[in-house]
């Protein structure tokens, strides 16, 4: 009964283990992994005073600063949009869903236009109010500036990760606290927040891991110049050196930085799993027969709306304004009367051709569709083993499935690229290099940790009775999975599919590294345009990209059930009691 899901689980986990082993192995060989020899040179080269005095401290500030900013916005947002009667919740949630699709470099550019000592709109406004020549306030060349921009972007994932648990809290606990005389805020602080602590911690760890792995935003804001070096920029420059003549991969150094980046993430992962383990012992969140209680905000509703609007203005409004502005300008200039006269739709002419034509669109659709299906399939298989079986290795499987999130995506992409090159030499019958398949493998490995979290949660909510009835009727496990369990967790599956598709749509780092003449995708085309100096066309492409994803997000929300509040939570809710009993 457990053989099929177990086999598929180990199939994927073997790939993950092999990639991790490859990254680690690279750190001990002098050159290419096929060449003989053993060295510790890569470790000793990397271990410099700069690493200790600036790279690691900067990375820590960026990681923890991002958590702080993200939590500052995400926690109130999650509560307001999931547990209160705030107006326009569906629309607000849908707009938050667009945040991950906006290219990070656009948001960073937007903040440079806002906060820069020389050109910043806010700086200039402040300077004229204060009657001083300039205001020394900038997002550049400071780890705090990087953390601010990353925090705004990563608020959305925290919001969605907390939304589910918030929705699933049994309201009787809060009601009991209220009856005991606790005030609203005390209930929130003493009852609600502790109950969703695993969710909050999970969201924070996810944020930390993501923040320290992102390259392009720190690069724009100071890492590329060496002023604010972070681990992600160090690994990036190891595998993409700046000097062309020295253009050889620092194979080992890339592995060392990847390993270093994994250490805090693994530590955080260990803490997360410990909290989850403890949470199971006093689990009070049941899956049956209740509806979460909504707090009536009364006259304070407008304060809540203002807070949501403030976040949306900073994280969505500003970058979309910059995107649209850049897409309408022949050459990006600061807003002015003179610049207004130059606005045109020139960058939208022949946009499809500039993005690579229908081939690129088709490749993108294929990657989005296939990665979603593969992530759902493998996450379901792994979660089935973890949640539904008594296999002794299930806890190990669960941990291994989470492991890729602790490793920077660039390290995986680098390992895959190397494996593809070696495969084209030694296993020519295994075409990996330059295929869509290799991009899909990278995405699959990268998304499975999140997929298994959603699936674990969803499967945990479906009672065993349902499968037992089907078994009694003589139904086999694969049929039970397909015809009983999957329909019951359909909203979760749809949510996971859409979220995965959106992340695949906008992912650029891995795709960039693995792209060849035949497997280019839209995000790589847009990045290529930006990198090559066609900012206007890149912005026009990004506007199209954000628009498509916005429409898709609204459509999915409609499909999932109107309100998007706590999609995960909704996705994992059990059917009404009348059907399950």
């Amino acid at each position: 009964m457990d053989a099929i899901p177990l086999a598929f689980s180990w199939l994927l986990l073997s790939v993950i283990i092999a990639l991790l082993a490859f990254v680690l192995y690279m750190t001990f060989v002098p050159g290419l992994p096929t060449e003989p020899g053993f060295t510790l040179r890569h470790w000793s080269n990397v271990a410099s005073s700069r690493l200790l005095t600036s790279v690691i401290p900067n990375t820590a500030i960026v990681g923890f600063g991002t958590i702080f900013i993200g939590a500052f916005f995400a926690l109130p947002l999650a509560w307001l949009l999931n547990r209160t009667n705030l107006p326009l919740r569906t629309i607000f949630t849908a707009i938050i869903g667009i945040v991950p699709v906006i290219p990070g470099f656009i948001l960073a550019m937007g903040w440079i236009m806002l906060l820069d000592e020389r050109i910043g709109l806010i700086n200039n406004a402040l300077a004229s109010v204060l009657g001083i020549p300039s205001v020394a306030l900038s997002v550049k060349d400071s780890p705090w500036g990087i953390a601010w921009v990353l925090g705004l972007i990563l608020t959305a994932p925290i919001f969605f990760l907390i939304g589910g648990p918030l929705c699933r809290i049994d309201p009787s606990l809060e009601e009991a606290a209220s009856v005991s005389g606790m005030k609203h805020l005390t209930v929130l602080r003493r009852v609600t927040l502790p109950l969703v602590w695993p969710g909050i911690l999970g969201g924070m760890i996810y944020t930390f891991m993501t923040a320290v792995s992102i390259f392009e935003i720190p690069a724009l804001l100071g890492a590329a110049s060496g002023k604010v070096p972070v681990l992600a920029s160090e690994i990036f420059y190891s595998v993409r050196p700046g000097g062309p003549i020295t253009a050889t991969f620092a194979y080992g150094a890339a592995g060392v930085y990847g390993t270093l980046l994994a250490v805090p993430s693994l530590l955080a992962l260990y803490l997360y799993l410990r909290v989850l383990h403890q949470a199971e012992r006093y689990q009070v969140i049941t899956g049956k027969g209740y509806r979460s209680r909504e707090t009536d905000l009364g006259a304070f509703a407008w304060v809540g709306v203002l807070f949501v609007v403030l976040y949306l203005a900073l994280a969505v409004g500003l970058p979309i304004f910059v995107l649209v502005w850049a897409s309408l300008m022949p050459v990006l200039q600061m807003p002015s009367r003179e610049a207004l006269a130059k606005l045109s739709f020139e960058n939208y002419h022949g946009l499809l051709e500039e993005l690579g034509g229908t081939d690129v669109i088709w490749n993108t659709v294929l990657v989005m569709g296939c990665v979603s299906l593969l992530v759902i399939f493998f996450s379901f298989m792994i979660s089935w083993v973890v949640v539904r079986t008594r296999v002794p290795s299930r806890k190990t499987i669960d941990m291994l499935a989470m492991l890729p999130h602790a490793i920077p995506s660039l390290a995986f992409a680098f390992a895959l690229a190397m494996i593809a090159i070696l495969a084209s030499r030694w296993l020519p019958w295994l075409p990996l290099s330059g295929t869509l398949g290799i991009i899909m493998i990278a995405h699959l490995v990268n998304r499975v940790p999140y997929g298994t979290r959603v699936m674990n949660s969803a499967l945990g909510q479906v009672h065993h009775e349902l499968e037992e009835v089907a078994q009694v009727c003589g139904t086999r496990t694969p049929t039970i999975m397909r015809r009983v369990v999957l329909p019951l967790i359909k909203p979760s599956v749809v949510y996971l599919a859409v979220w995965t598709a959106m992340l695949s749509f906008q992912e650029v780092t891995m795709a960039l590294f693995l792209s060849g003449p035949h497997n280019s995708v839209l995000s790589v085309s847009i990045w290529g345009l930006w990198e090559a100096g066609s900012l206007g066309t890149a912005a026009a492409g990004a506007v199209a990209m954000v628009s498509i994803m916005g429409v898709l997000m609204f459509a999915v929300l409609k499909f999932v059930g109107g309100s998007a509040t706590g999609l995960v939570g909704r996705g994992t809710a059990v059917p009404p009691p009348s059907e399950t009993r």
Binding site: I119, P330, M418, R425, A532
Partner: protein, 402 residues
């Protein structure tokens, strides 16, 4: 509940087994080219006959047999150029082969190309383009293959060479001879925002970039091409002293970013000036003639950056790749890409090429290329040595202020 169970028990004979189809089709995702021919290990593309026409005919026949070409173009070129270039190339040689052209950032791809060569794997691209330093890296790593009889073939393909207006060694010489063919060039200079800084306030020499008055006012790229030609630019040159100059300039710079992005941010007003190629000024002014941007040469030296096509070692379609590399040196190809890219061809005859040469002459700027003379060629060769590579590594780090 019972409804679900009834559904489960329903006979499945009428249902399409789509899952099976999906799994059967999954391997096709790993196919890059359904019509690809088996990998050929042919190395040298040699025309057997010394006569130009015969040599070319033989090469074209081989290209037809290969049936395909995978080539790169500059990452900054418009994708709109791909079809006209492909059509003109096919027409010139009467080819009816599948051609894939991709915008590729050489700095990003060349490490992959070198890794492919080291691993003995076939090349992703048959023919690739890159500037002096980039090309030196792949030629040095034996990631390019020799084109035998290239001068005869070039004379047959390029009318400027055939007519004697351009000597073949202007297109392939020095350490690149037989391997790489120049098809365009640019000069590294200062591009500045006319609203942020006046021409007279700009630094005159590279050393001036260390002046505290320029701190935080300029951007430079992470690559070494603005600094690496210096050893031949000065009579007295001390490598360590120069490294210190680069380091101080690196610490003085506001950002270390790609040239195109830096120039955009110069237009935005974020930086007063940037070290970049001459073509960006032309490109920005072509898009917006009123953009506040202008360029100036340094007084001490300005590097001439030439761009070459090279046929890759273990290329799958070496004959087609050779034809492409040689054809891209012609005025026919130039007419297609130059109007939008606005880079000059050093031996070219277009208005832009003449303006490019006259501009340098008129300004009396000291422009130095790696293939100018024996001294510069020696320097380029030195950069291939272990000592040279280490020096370049140190330069790259110094640019970031390390």
């Amino acid at each position: 509940m019972m409804r679900i169970l009834r559904e489960v028990r329903r006979p499945r004979s009428v249902r399409l087994p789509w899952q099976i189809l999906v799994f059967l089709l999954l391997p096709t995702l790993f196919v890059t080219d359904f019509g690809a021919k088996p990998f050929s290990m042919k190395l040298a593309v040699a025309a057997e006959s010394p006569k130009g026409k015969q040599a070319l005919d033989a090469l074209v026949a081989k290209a037809k047999q290969e049936g395909e070409l995978v080539a790169t173009i500059q990452s900054s070129w418009s994708k709109g150029l791909i079809q006209p270039l492909t059509d003109a190339f096919k027409k010139r040689f009467g080819l009816d082969i599948k051609i894939t052209i991709a915008n590729v950032n050489s700095a990003r791809h060349f490490p992959v190309a070198i890794a492919e060569t080291q691993a003995g794997a076939p090349a992703t691209y048959d023919v690739v383009q890159g500037d002096d330093a980039e090309t030196m890296s792949i030629v040095g790593a034996e990631a390019t293959q020799k084109v035998s009889n290239w001068a005869t073939l070039l004379a047959e393909i390029n009318p400027l060479v055939r007519s004697g207006k351009v000597r073949s060694d202007a297109i392939s010489r020095g350490p690149f001879q037989d391997h790489s063919f120049v098809f365009m060039a640019n000069v590294k200079q200062l591009i500045y925002n006319t609203k942020s800084i006046s021409e007279k306030d700009l630094p005159r020499t590279h050393k001036d970039l260390t002046d505290p008055k320029y701190k935080g006012k300029f951007a430079q790229p992470p690559w070494t091409s603005h600094w690496e030609i210096a050893p031949v630019a000065f009579d007295k040159f001390d490598r360590n002293e120069w490294l210190e100059v680069v380091r101080r300039a690196g610490k003085n710079s506001a950002a270390v970013i790609g040239e195109s992005a830096a120039v955009q941010r110069v237009v935005l007003g974020e930086f007063a000036f940037a070290l970049a190629q001459d073509r960006y000024t032309r490109q920005i002014l072509a898009k917006d003639p009123k953009a506040p941007i202008a360029a100036r040469f340094f007084d001490d030296y300005n590097e001439l950056n030439q761009v070459y096509y090279s046929v890759r070692t273990r290329a799958r379609h070496p004959a087609a790749g050779t034809l492409w590399a040689l054809w891209m040196t012609t005025a026919d190809a130039q007419k297609i890409w130059q109007p939008s890219d606005l880079q000059a061809v050093p031996y070219g005859d277009s208005d832009l090429d003449r303006e490019f040469r006259q501009g340098i002459e008129k300004s009396k700027a000291r422009v130095i290329g790696f293939l100018d003379n024996e001294k510069t060629i020696e320097l380029l060769k030195w950069y291939r040595t272990e000592e040279g590579r280490k020096y370049l590594d140190a330069l790259a780090k110094a640019i970031r202020g390390e």
